[in-house]
Amino acid sequence: MMSKSLSGIDLLHLTIDDIRRIFSADDRDFLEEMARAARELTRRQFGRTISLYAPLYIANYCENECVYCGFHASQKSMPRSKLTMEQIDRECEALAATGNRSILLLTGESRFHSPPQYIREAVRIAARYFSYVALEVYPLDEEEYRELYLAGVDGVTLYQETYDRARYDELHLAGPKKVYDYRVSAPDRIARSGIRHISMGALLGLTDWRSDVIALFEHVRSLEKRYPGVEFGLAFPRLRRVADDIHHYQEVSDRDMLKIMTAARLLFPRVGISISTRETPRFRDSILEFGVTKMSAGSSTRVGGYLEGEHKYEDGQFEVFDPRSFDEIKTMLKSRCFDPVVTDWRNIVNS
């Protein structure tokens, strides 16, 4: 039986208030209904296709002190490096040789070590190998985003981590990232710069996921109204439970994840949803049907990492739980009757 608190909800016309009710209830039958509706809507909007991409870490210097991250500045045992342009070229070549056509370039958050000029040069190189180039870097000024756009950037990923200001302040001990407002206003600057795709998310588990997801949804909805031409993407990375949890993280269960992803699909029928290799193969494969449009494949989260035999680079930012190669992911998708889409973009700014 469906709980009373959820009666009257129209899944195809959800409001933020409905989502609040859905998140506070725990109703198995209702979740089943949401999953069905989300699957149907995803098929109508995207068909049976999943786009593939791979990340390339070009640097891991960082000036921030985020207590939850393995890359943070005072982590002295973490070897730091950044790739030269020549190395970036070779890494891109190696990654493109696996068949990938969509790349996400990442740096740690250090304007000193990875200045905009460095990122721009890396983008120009990547654009020669890939049809779609996205960035996950520290927030920038509008003019800097504009220059990156002109250099060939198709998308930017930027996670707010948490929308709870007090908690944000508590978890970001030092560094430029401590300024909440500069980060939360970055999507506006990205949209105004001309960059076409913006992926947003919160690191679930830093605080109550319900309030973070709702704040994220409200943020995206307001951006959508102001910048209708931008294609928004959502990701829902979650913290893994750690043995020594002095920061009081909150667990996000698989059931919660399904609730979040199906709610995202129903509220934003056209938004891209990606699922990272931080999730296990079992979870990634089972959740595919319910809204996912994008997944990373054959990922390395170390600086560099795609050149065979060159394992001199450091440990990754986080553990990859899905080690499957690009071809293995393609095979898995085909076996589930999905068309793995390798090319779904053509940069027309620099072509």
């Binding site: 049976r48 056509r101 076409r196 959508e224 056209r270 085909k334 068309d339 390798v342 027309i348």
Partner: protein
């Protein structure tokens, strides 16, 4: 029955056009094109990668079928024109479906930018089929701008809702006689396609409803037949639907006769 459709100087035996996106498997897409007998398919430039040897979408399109590249991803006329130029330089032909969409939530076309792009590209010799919101003034402007056909949306892309724009499309069919009218978007069932053709549309384009079916080739064939049935009904000048009886004297008049 000799009932050829002529668009951009080319003759088409089938009035059913098929979009190639959203298929779970490119081989199923190929079989859908074949089983429907469609002679014109649309492909998004953004999906074409010639380096992708085994998966390149173009290699799944049967020979003899006209490929019309669409400008999916364009937010304004300038971007649509650039996409068309890239397509032409890459050798994908002269047929362009203009999609100028600056709204990622509903995917509604920007009519004003679409007119601009149509004017530029038709001036450069492209065969231009613009996707548009059914508005009479815009349709007239598109004719004047050199469009080879107009493609009004039936309802929102991917919605399967059918002809929500019916009244406005009827106006276009009535008033735009210079070029064909191809109903595009939202056509969810063969009966929707038949309905559009009964109204007098010249052709129908579908994608989602075929790609999303359990058996896309079978569904594609069903659509092609829906289009044919609707076309035949239109040519047969079917009787008009009447609301209620139209007797000249009331049927129940005898009750009151004295």
């Amino acid at each position: 029955m000799d009932d050829k459709l002529i668009v951009g100087g080319r003759e088409f035996g089938s009035r059913f056009f098929l979009g190639t996106g959203k298929f779970g498997d490119k081989e199923a897409m190929r079989r859908a094109v074949v089983s429907s007998g469609s002679e014109l398919v649309t492909v998004a430039l953004r999906r074409i990668d010639l380096d992708e040897t085994d998966e390149n979408i173009l290699s799944f399109i049967p020979e003899g079928v006209t490929i019309m590249v669409n400008t999916s991803g364009a937010r304004n006329a300038e971007e649509a024109v650039r996409i068309a130029h890239i397509a032409r330089e890459a050798g994908y032909g002269e047929w362009i479906k203009i999609e100028v969409i600056n709204d990622s939530r509903y995917l509604l076309p920007d009519n004003q930018e679409t007119i601009k792009a149509t004017r530029i590209l038709s001036g450069e010799g492209f065969v231009v089929l613009p996707y548009m919101h059914p508005d009479l003034y815009v349709a007239k402007a598109l004719v004047e701008a050199g469009a080879a056909a107009v493609m009004p949306l039936g309802s929102l892309i991917g919605s399967n809702q059918g002809l929500k724009m019916r009244t406005l499309i009827e106006v276009l069919i009535e008033e735009i006689t210079e070029i064909p009218i191809v109903v595009d978007a939202g056509i969810g069932r063969p009966s929707h396609a038949a309905e559009a053709m009964e109204m007098g549309a010249d052709a129908v384009l579908a994608n989602t409803a075929v790609a999303d079916a359990e058996d896309p080739p079978l569904m594609a064939a069903a659509f092609a037949r829906g289009v044919e049935a609707g076309r035949m009904a239109y040519l047969a000048k079917m009787g008009r639907e009447r609301k209620g009886a139209a007797a000249s004297s009331p049927l129940t008049g005898f009750l009151y006769d004295e």
